[in-house]
Structure formats: structure tokens, C-alpha cells
């Protein structure tokens, strides 16, 4: 953690403390800086505006209530995205229990060893279709991997799975994304 980042995290911690103590300006600043990106993440996970808004609303309530647990050692956005991911995961499990329980075959392919180049440019609709073609668990894992910078072991903890399964999920998700993007005619299969 760089010195600058550490200072910024502590400033965010102070801002959160102020908001929880009743400072309206501080709360507005936090809501303004986090709400849209969190909504966007929740929407990508859940695919419905109402669900994404509900999750973000609940996530903010949890943030206010668990503010004391934020230790200022990471960005407030990372802490908040973790709450959003957990709530989205709960909602997905409740909405689509069977789809979530479908177990991917286990192969020992660590996600860190699989590198897929996503630097080409694609149009927005094709990317959406490619992401929708992923299974619920693959989508969750790849979004947490990309946005929260979590390791496979950390994602496994959040999703209640073992590390090998998450490695496998990430591996398959990346390959599927790549093949769907390259195919051009991406389609949704869930």
C-alpha cells in the first residue's frame, strides 16, 4: 500500500465516521462517489434494474451499520463492492437456486496461470451478450476477479466454494468470454 493510498483510505475512513455520526454532507459525498459504480456492478451481476437498486440500497444500509468494521486499510469502494457482491450472490441464490447449484466439472487449472488478452475492441452489445452467456457462478467470479481484485481463494470464501472450483470457474469464464467475443455472433444460453 503506497503512502498516498494509505492517506486516501484514512480520509475515506474519517468521511465514513462523519457520515455515521450524522454529517449530511459526508453521507452525500459517499453516496455520490459509490452509488453509480455499485449499481453498475450489481446490474452486471443481476441483470435487472430493480434488483440492482435493491441490492445497492441494502448495501448502503449495511455500510452505515457496519462502518466500525471498515479499518481504512483498503479503499472504501473495495469494501463496499464486497458488500454489494455478497448481497448480489444471496439474491442470485434465492432467485435461481438450481442454476447456482449446477456444479462445474473440476479440473486443476489455477486462474493465475490462464492469461487471456482482452485488449481488442468490441461493441458494447457484443460484450453484454458474451457476459450473459456465462453461467451465474462464472459471471459472479469474473466480476469479483475484475472489479475487486480478489484472489481465487478470496472469491472461494465469498462464494462458499473451494479454491480449485473457483480457479476452474475463472478459467472457463475467461475462455468462454474470449470465444464468445471472437465468434461475433454471441448468444445467451441461460
Amino acid at each position: 500500500m503506497s503512502l498516498f493510498a494509505g492517506k486516501q483510505y484514512r480520509a475515506e475512513q474519517d468521511l465514513l465516521k462523519k457520515a455515521v455520526a450524522g454529517d449530511s454532507g459526508a453521507s452525500q459525498e459517499i453516496i455520490r462517489s459509490l452509488s453509480q459504480s455499485a449499481y453498475s456492478l450489481a446490474w452486471k451481476m443481476l441483470g435487472r434494474r430493480e434488483d440492482a437498486e435493491d441490492v445497492v440500497q441494502e448495501a448502503f444500509i449495511r455500510l452505515w451499520r457496519s462502518a466500525a468494521n471498515f479499518n481504512g486499510k483498503s479503499a472504501l469502494s473495495t469494501y463496499f463492492y464486497a458488500i454489494v457482491s455478497n448481497l448480489s450472490l444471496d439474491r442470485l441464490k434465492a432467485m435461481n437456486k438450481t442454476a447456482f447449484e449446477v456444479f462445474d466439472e473440476l479440473e486443476n487449472l489455477p486462474a493465475e496461470l490462464v492469461h487471456v488478452d482482452f485488449s481488442d475492441t468490441f461493441d458494447s452489445e457484443r460484450i453484454s451478450e458474451a457476459v450473459r452467456s456465462l453461467s451465474v457462478k462464472q459471471r459472479m467470479a469474473i466480476l469479483m476477479w475484475a472489479y475487486q481484485d480478489l484472489t481465487a481463494a478470496e472469491i472461494a470464501k465469498v462464494m462458499g466454494m473451494n479454491k480449485n472450483s473457483v480457479d476452474q470457474l475463472l478459467f472457463r469464464a475467461k475462455l468462454k468470454l474470449k470465444s464468445e467475443l471472437e465468434k461475433g455472433g454471441a448468444y445467451a444460453d441461460n
Binding site: 455520490r32 440500497q57 444500509i61 475484475a146
Partner: protein, 101 residues
């Protein structure tokens, strides 16, 4: 390596067009914040209110508890010693009355 890949992946995923949230979304979030803060800072229940105040003023609470403890110890000691004094006086009086008899 991981960071570069993540950035590319994040950049790719950021290109997904997300429908905008409802018009009053941020306002709703702010109302939620007010409700939660109001509940936490000004709880409706009197005991919860006292507990919340105690939590937010830990040093003062510790001082009040220590002072109350000390005061009750001193009071107890005073009561005990005054009882002993009373007993002693009663003994003296009874001895006096016996001797006069």
C-alpha cells in the same frame, strides 16, 4: 501480470451499457441514511438511547462508573462504621444502666 489482465478485463466489462438507475435513486439512498442514522443516534427506546450515548462517550461512561463505584464503597463503609458506633454506644449505655442498678 494479474493487474494488467484485470485492467483490460475491467475496461472490457466497463463497456457494457448499463441502463441508468431510477430518477430518485440517490435521493432514496440519502433517505435510508437519514433513517439509519436517526435510529442509531436517537433510538426510540430510552434504554437503547442511554446505551448509545454510553457507547459514544466511552471515557465519560468509564469515569461515571468508577465514580459511582467509589461513592457506593465509601457509603457502605460509612454505614458499617456508623452501625458499629451505634452498637458501641448501646453497649456503653447498657453497661451504664447495669452499673447504676
Amino acid at each position: 501480470m494479474r493487474t494488467t489482465e484485470n485492467k483490460k478485463l475491467q475496461k472490457l466489462l466497463d463497456q457494457i451499457s448499463v441502463p441508468s438507475s431510477s430518477a430518485h435513486f440517490e435521493k432514496t439512498l440519502h433517505q435510508d441514511w437519514r433513517r439509519v442514522v436517526h435510529q442509531e443516534v436517537y433510538p426510540s427506546h430510552r434504554i437503547s438511547h442511554v446505551l448509545t450515548l454510553a457507547k459514544s462517550h466511552r471515557r465519560l461512561t468509564a469515569f461515571i462508573v468508577a465514580a459511582a463505584f467509589l461513592a457506593s464503597a465509601l457509603m457502605g463503609q460509612h454505614v458499617l462504621s456508623s452501625q458499629e458506633e451505634d452498637l458501641r454506644q448501646m453497649d456503653t449505655l447498657s453497661e451504664l444502666s447495669l452499673s447504676t442498678l
